[in-house]
Structures are given as C-alpha cells and as structure tokens.
Amino acid sequence: MNLEIWLPAMFGLGLVMMGFCLLFLKACEHI
C-alpha cells in the first residue's frame, strides 16, 4: 500500500467524517 497516498487519504477521510458529524449537529438545530 503506497503510504504517500493512503496515509493522508485515510487521515483526511477521518477529518471529513468528523466535519460531517458537526454539520449534522448544525442540522439538528433546524429540524
């Protein structure tokens, strides 16, 4: 597995998903 590609990709995926959770929190305010 190419570390130069996969390491930042997996790190970024985790951060993006946590951002998605924060967006969900924002959305819950308006439900």
């Binding site: 985790g14 946590m18 959770c21 969900f24 929190l25």
Partner: protein, 609 residues
C-alpha cells in the same frame, strides 16, 4: 443446573454492586463531590465555563476529532519508536487498518482487523489502546449526563470537559486500579518487556536453528494487568492478543473470567439507575432496568440452550467423514475442499454440547454466556469463537447488537432505550388519542422526528453495507464459508460496527495488518474503510440527535399530572416499551436473521444454503 450458576451469580452480584455505584455516579455528576485541592486545580483548568447543549455537543465532537488525530499519529509513528516499548521492531501498519483501528477505538467499538500481539508495539498498546479505553468510554457517559440535565430543564447543561475529567478521574481510574491489582495477583503479566523466549515442551517443535539447536518460542507479553481492567470496565473490548479474553494472560483464571464479566456489566447497569436518580424518578429507572434485565436474561438463556446444551449439528449429522467445497480467495479457482471428520473419530463427548471454539478452562457454558453478555453491554471482548456457535445460538449475540439497548455501552445503551421510549410513548399516545408526554412534557413533531432519525441510522448502517458486500466480491471473496454462514459473517461485521460493539464473528478475511504483509486478505481495504465509516456514523449521529431531542423536550413546560397521564413507573409501561422494542426490532432485522442463522439452521448441514 450447573450451567446456570455462572450467569445467575454474575447478574446478582452486578445488580447488588450497581445500586451503591449508581448513587455514587449521580453524586459525582450532580457536582456534589468535593475533590482534594490538587484535583480541583486540574478541574478548574479544564473548566471552560457553562455550556448549552449545542456547545456541549460541539465540544464532544471536537474532542473526538483531537482523539482521532492523536490516535492516528500514535499508530503511524510506530516504526520510528525504538527502545523497550518497541523492542520487537513492529513496523508500519497499513493505512486503511490505521484508519479503521483509530475510528474503532475512538468510538468505543474496538473492532480489530489486526491481531494486537502480532501488529502493535507496547508503545501503541499503551498510548493508543489504553488511553482510548478511558477517554472513549467517558463520551457516552457524558452524552447521557447532558440528556438528563436537558430533561430536567437545567439552565445550562454543565461543561463537557469537566464531566470528562470527573468520569475518568473519579470513576474509571479508581475502579481500573483496584481491578488491575486483582489481575496482577491472578497472574496477568504487568511488564514493559515485549516478549519472553521459552523452550517448547517438545524440543524442535518449531524447527531447528542453523546450529541444530531447537528454536525457542516467542511469547509476547506487556502491561496486561493495566490493559484488561479498563478494557472491560469501559466496555471497550479490544484485545491485547488476537485471542482476546480466551488468552491465558488476558484472562488467567476462572475468577478473572467472572470478574471480567461483572466488570463489563457494572457501569452499564449503574447508569440506568443513575438516570432514574438524577431525574428523581428512581422507580422509573427500575422499570427500565427490569425491562433490560428481562431482555438480557432471554439473550443469556438462548445460547446456553442452543449451544451449551446441544452438540454441533455439523458434526453429529454425519456418520461418515465428508468433504465440502468452500470459497477461499487464496486457493486456485477461489475454492478449496474441507473434510469434516465423522463424530466417532473425534475425541469429543458430544453430550457436553458444542465445544468447538470454546475456552475449556472456564467450563462448557462460559463461552456462550460471555457471547451474550459482551454484546448486550456492547463490550466486544470475547472468550470463545462466535463463528463456531451453533447457528441458532448465534442469534443471541446478533439480536443483542440489533436491539442495542440491553443495557448497552456506558450511556449510549440508555440513550438508545430513550429513543425506543419516545417512539413508544408517541405510539401509545396515538392509540388512546392523547398528546403523548414524557416526564410531564408533551412530545411534539420535532422530538419524534429526531428520535426516528436516531433510530433508523442503526439499521441503515447494518443492512445497507451488508447488502452491498453480500452482493459483491468484496464480501463473497472474504467469507470463509459459503451460503448463509458466509452471509452471517458479513452481517455480523457490520452489526458489530454499527452497534459499536467490536466483537468479531471471525472467519471473515478483513485483516491487512502490517503494511509489509505480503499476503493480506484480498478484501481487507473495503472492509477497513466501510466498517470505519459505519462506526463513525453510528456512534455520533445517534448521540447528537437524542441530545437535540432532550434539549427540545426539556425546554417545554411541564404539564400537570392528570388521570389520563401515562405513568412511566409501572409494569404496564415496561410491557409497552418491551412490545415496541420487540416489534421494531423484528420488523427491521427478521429478514436478515432468516437469510443468515435461521437459513443455516434449517438448510443442509454444515453451512446451510
């Protein structure tokens, strides 16, 4: 009768212990404990001031983001760690496995696509696993606390960081320390030494060195006695060894096995009563507790009857040895043949039940009991092979994960029960034509919408990926058995991920391990990524939505108690809630139960189909 002594003693002891513990937890979380000055100094430092529910939840998510970054860095730098904490020279872990593992431990799931003793250094075991055991375990605890305060209509719901501090320092650390001492006394290693070289009983069993001397066995050791207590108390479940609690160092004696089970139930039991105490509705807490206990007893009896008291049907069905063709991605043509010996040729007394995959040091029923308990409280530690449970018996751990509210993890199990409760009260209100109320507050459209969103995330995250993987080579090339059993392996993987449970059915080729692994499981990457995403979504969304729901409900005025009010502290209420849980659970998961364990039980032995 001897089958039942073990579970009864565990349930009775935990119930007795959780009564005073719940009082202590409520006392701490109500802020009545006056800590020594040096601890208060730290508490003051982490206190960022009063928060409303949005600020509290945002703090929770940001803290978890930091936890993700920290965990990712700790695992990624493993090859560069030298000295006694990586004396075996563990190298770089595959990036997808790092992502999966970090998400898994951060979300309190601890689903492992690696074997800890083969892949992790003691540095990673300490700074990644143990730290996550404490921190991830306190997240659900804090989430339940903010829901309780919101229900009470508190003007502010406390401070997330202060609550975290109190949970870790005043609850988890003392309990883990005491339990750790017992594990040391019982024989668990507590050392920074990475491994012991020992001569095997049969010299040369592992081959010979170049000079003709017998090769020695390398036995990995580490700080087990500090690892295991919080693994259990925090319902984490991630093993130091691949064998988890079946390993003699991770679970050395029958006493530690008993304590292991009690420890994983202790906080989930206590939190239900803490909920009742903090709301000043202890009777209501006991009703919910009793309902959960009924479900737990049912899930305990089921595997003992269908696994401990019944032989393996795959063995007893055939008088002669038979050969089967099974899927195997590593074999030419993707298939290999497996020969099952006839029962008379096996040195096993089949009247003792299904002994395959059991750790016999603890007795014949200990594995089946553990399999039920570990999923009910979403711990995920295992002391037997769930893949080897008789097909019908495997329904017990599966249903525990599907319902996900039989005590559940610390806090989140109670939160899941509250979702069922809101939906149940709403349905009951519709049936009798009254506005539904909970805690004297009217449940409106917003509360029901948030509850239903939280309720549906779990089945969607199980059924969607299971269908996708079962229909493609991602799943079919990873299963070690064909037919319904293979389907069960895929379904169990995503059930465990979505329930934040972490137990594994095993038999599924989902392991990559070290990046230098020349022969990783071919479908490890999609399983790593998919299970990681499922864990993240199923962890945080069903926490956020109920907090919003509780805040919305708590902000409403209390209606006076009247003749038509549905009482929430009676057995009738308990039966109503039980009915909602069973009906909703059956509607959501009966089809996959039919495709997996039920089809395997009714189909041609050994693997159904």
């Amino acid at each position: 009768m001897h089958y039942w002594f073990l579970p009864i003693s565990m349930l009775v002891a935990t119930t007795l212990l959780c009564i005073p513990l719940s009082r202590y937890l409520a006392w701490i979380m109500n802020g009545k404990y006056r800590a020594p000055a040096f601890l208060r100094w730290f508490e003051d430092r982490v206190n960022s001031g009063p928060q409303n529910w949005k600020q509290y939840t945002a703090s929770l998510l940001i803290f978890n983001t930091v936890l993700f970054v920290f965990g990712f860095i700790v695992l990624a730098i493993q090859p560069w760690v030298t000295g006694p904490l990586n004396s075996l020279g563990r190298g770089m872990i595959a990036p997808t496995t790092i992502f999966h593992s970090v998400v898994s431990f951060m979300t309190n799931t601890d689903l492992q696509h690696y074997s800890g003793d083969q892949v992790l250094s003691n540095f990673s075991q300490i700074f990644f696993c143990i730290s996550n055991f404490f921190l991830s375990a306190s997240i659900g605890f804090c989430a339940l606390t903010v829901i309780i305060r919101s229900f009470r209509g508190d003007p502010n719901v406390g401070n997330f960081f202060v609550d975290m501090w109190r949970v870790v320092m005043y609850m988890f650390l003392p309990a883990a320390f005491v339990l750790g001492l017992v594990f040391v006394q019982q024989g668990s290693p507590m050392t920074f030494t990475a491994a012991q070289q020992v001569a095997t009983l049969e010299p040369g069993a592992l081959g010979n060195n170049d000079d003709g001397t017998p090769k020695q066995q390398t036995i990995v050791v580490g700080p087990l006695a500090s690892f295991v207590p919080m693994k259990q108390l925090g319902t984490n479940g991630g093993g130091f060894y691949g064998m988890n609690s079946a390993h003699p160092f991770e679970n050395p004696t029958a006493l530690t096995n008993w304590l292991t089970c009690v420890a994983m139930m202790l906080f989930p039991f206590s939190l239900v009563l803490m909920y009742g105490r903090m709301l000043n509705r202890l009777r209501h807490g006991w009703v919910i507790f009793s309902l959960m206990m009924v479900l737990m007893v049912a899930t305990l009896i089921w595997p003992v009857v269908f696994d401990t008291m019944r032989p393996n049907p795959g063995l007893t069905a055939h008088p002669q040895a038979e050969t089967y063709e099974v899927a195997d991605a590593t074999s030419p043509g993707g298939k290999r043949e497996v020969t099952l010996p006839a029962v008379p040729g096996l040195p096993v007394d089949q009247s003792l039940g299904n002994l395959e995959g059991k750790e016999m040091r603890f007795g014949t029923s200990a594995g089946a009991i553990f399999s039920a308990l570990t999923v009910d409280v979403t711990c995920g530690a295992v002391n037997c092979e769930h893949d080897s449970l008789n097909p019908l018996a495997s329904l017990s751990p599966m249903s525990g994960m599907w319902l996900n509210c039989i005590f559940g993890g610390k806090g989140v199990g109670m939160i899941n029960m509250l979702i069922y409760l809101i939906v149940g009260v709403f349905i009951a209100g519709q049936m009798v034509g009254r506005t539904p109320e909970y805690l004297g507050k009217k449940i409106g459209r917003r509360e029901v919408a948030l509850a239903v969103i939280a309720m549906l995330i779990h089945p969607i995250m199980i059924l969607g990926p299971t269908g996708l993987f079962a229909a493609t080579d991602w799943g079919n090339k990873a299963t070690s058995n064909p037919g319904p059993h293979g389907f069960s392996q895929i379904m169990y993987q995503f059930s465990s991920a979505s329930a934040n449970n972490g137990s594994a059915f095993d038999g599924l080729g989902a392991s990559y391990g070290l990046n230098s692994n020349p022969n990783p499981s071919p479908e490890a990457v999609p399983f790593d990524i998919a299970a990681g995403l499922v864990m993240l979504i199923s962890r945080f969304l069903p926490i956020i939505a109920p907090i919003a729901m509780a805040a919305s409900l708590g902000a409403k005025k209390s209606a006076p108690f009247g003749l038509g009010t549905l009482r929430d502290d009676t057995p009738t209420f308990g039966f109503l809630l039980l009915g909602v849980i069973l009906i909703v659970g059956a509607l959501l998961f009966l089809p996959v139960a039919a495709l997996g364990p039920l089809a395997e039980h009714l189909g041609p032995i050994p693997f159904g189909g």
